[in-house]
């Protein structure tokens, strides 16, 4: 875990895209959503935190897929859902778990919501998903389970 904030180059492609994204959507995040986006990403699989919050012994924990995306330049074992207009032939691995066979689901919703603490409608976006099936855990044994991407 870094002991100071991460830094990105302004000239990098990722830096430009992130900058634009934050200007347009996350500029004052407390005002549009305090909780939803914070919970989103909670289930991201970070290399140094893969077993955090699994609630079971490490032995039964599933193993993350090798690939993934890099939001804010930070690698996670997760690919975001395909936009509706993109054909399934372009699909990236929807599961976050490897050595897995079962059902998966991913989606992205953007809308609005309300809070007693705010007079105005708040913007809302959530990426959600699930994996339900069998997997070979870190202990090498076959397990059955349901996992949520929240």
């Amino acid at each position: 875990m870094p002991d100071r904030p991460l830094s990105l180059s302004r000239h990098s492609f990722l830096g430009r895209k992130i900058s634009r994204h934050f200007r347009e959507f996350h500029k004052d995040r407390r005002r549009f959503l305090t909780s939803a986006a914070g919970a989103a990403g909670l289930a991201f699989w970070l290399p140094d935190g893969a077993n955090a919050g699994q609630g079971k012994g490490k032995g039964a924990a599933p193993k993350p897929i090798a690939g993934g995306a890099m939001p804010l330049g930070i690698f996670i074992h997760h690919f975001p859902v395909l936009p509706t207009a993109t054909p399934l032939s372009a699909l990236n691995e929807p599961s976050q778990i490897t050595d897995f066979k079962g059902y998966v689901g991913l989606n992205r919703i953007r809308g609005g919501g309300t809070s007693p603490q705010f007079a105005q409608t708040l913007a809302f976006q959530a990426d959600m998903g699930f994996m339900k099936g069998q997997f070979i855990a870190e202990d090498g044994n076959l397990h059955q389970g349901v996992f949520g991407f929240i």
């Binding site: 002991d3 939803a36 990403g41 909670l42 804010l72 050595d99 079962g102 809302f124 949520g148």
Partner: protein, 133 residues
């Protein structure tokens, strides 16, 4: 994160799936940057997200995938997965509560969907397994 076995129901042949949770304990990391950096924040030349420690929260949600748009068998050897996948519509009802703040999303609206897919897949050591789960 692990969910209760009954929290997800899949009716694959009908292109439908459901995910439900009630009062699920989660940390609210405040924003994506602090979620990814474990509360360390992030600094770039053009924006700064200050470090913010997570706080306990509880969330409830009902997510539904339905309305098959397209269906395709995908074999992706580079990413080592294969399966049958269905692009669908989706809706969501979402709420959260924590000390000093609560939020409830608008009623489920199919027009709010930006992308949704369900699938029956095999990956890793099961890539060549002829038996489904």
């Amino acid at each position: 994160m692990p969910l209760h076995p009954d929290s997800v129901r899949v009716e694959f042949n009908s292109a439908r799936a459901f995910m439900h949770a009630e009062s699920l304990s989660v940390p609210d990391a405040h924003d994506l940057a602090n979620s990814l950096t474990h509360g360390q924040g992030i600094v770039t030349p053009t924006f700064t997200i200050p470090p913010i420690a997570p706080v306990p929260a509880a969330v409830s949600f009902d997510v539904e995938w339905s309305g098959g748009i397209s269906r395709e068998t995908v074999v992706n050897e580079a990413q080592n997965f294969r399966g049958e996948f269905i692009k669908t519509g989706s809706t969501m009802k979402w709420s959260s509560i924590q000390d000093g703040f609560s939020f409830e999303s608008e009623d489920p609206d199919p027009a709010r969907n930006l992308g949704a897919t369900i699938g029956r897949e095999r990956n890793g050591v099961f890539f060549d397994d002829p038996n489904d789960a």
